[in-house]
Amino acid sequence: MKIILTGGFLGSGKTTFIRHLAEFLVKQEGKRVVIIENEAGEVGIDDKLLSLDGFQVKEISGGCICCQLTAELTVAVGQIMKQFNPQWIIVEATGLAKIASVIDTLKKYGKGFESVYTIVLADAERWQELAEIMPDFVFSQVAAADLVLVNKIDQAPAVDLTSIISKIKEVNPQARVESVSALNGIDEKLFKGLIRDESGSTPTNP
């Protein structure tokens, strides 16, 4: 069992991306997939959306898996493994999660999975403003990623995509950086590359 951790600021397109990723893994690759949805509030929307699309979803709500709900995350991973034995777990962190802390929790306390691969979505449409309003937070999310997806490029024709990618590579030189429009669909090649990359990601101690 492998874990894909998905992060990125609020409204950056994480759920839309996960919908495509899960669909690819389930329908194209024939894999068993469970999604863990971490919602900041008591009443979530993202978990309902993914459930309505027919995916197996486990909700963790009322706090963040990077701080208040670290135990709930590791317990949920263990329960999912026993109950569903999936080949993939996709974790959607809240948009305010410190991604490095979630990775740390999974690697220190999680059991039974082979690896964690981290994808962070960056919102091209708001990148400049968010990087000015909360630079430390935005850059820390990007810094923790194996793959950064600069999303909503269709909605941000006027932005300087090259400078956004350049800044991301400056913050995280190891990460692969791609630009996408998750709302309009994702090229299968990206998912195939992701699975290939994932095979080389940091193993944990099962």
Partner: protein, 121 residues
């Protein structure tokens, strides 16, 4: 950082398509986005979901002038009679009480515009 979330059933006086619901939902979200935008962006997210059976439309707003919509394929010709409605707002740097007050005012306006005799729960 807590989310301000509301969920209720819309008891519509007459069935509405997603297209007919879209405009009042967007108006509500844009009002909220306009109230809390910083440097021309929403410092967080404003999301809404209308669902009944297999039909649903989801809405997301991160800019004060635009709402993105996604609908399930089953929604194309569907009419909503008593859909569930969810609103979820998370904003950085805005007091929760202020967001809640604006959310409730916007929600009242939305309910009036869809002429729903709903009760929240």
């Amino acid at each position: 950082m807590k989310a301000v979330a509301r969920q209720l059933t819309l008891d519509l006086q007459s069935p509405l398509s997603l297209e007919e619901l879209e405009s009042p939902v967007q108006d509500m979200m844009l009002r909220l986005a306009g109230a809390f935008s910083v440097r021309g962006v929403v410092p967080g997210h404003i999301k809404a979901l209308v669902e009944e059976g297999e039909s649903y439309g989801s809405f997301s707003c991160t800019k004060p002038d635009k709402v993105n919509r996604y609908a399930s394929p089953q929604t194309k010709d569907a009419l909503f009679h008593r859909p569930r409605f969810y609103l979820n707002i998370v904003l950085v740097g805005v007091p929760e009480e202020k967001v809640a007050a604006e959310a409730d005012a916007s929600l009242d306006e939305f309910l009036n515009s869809v002429r729903s005799g709903t009760g929240s729960d």
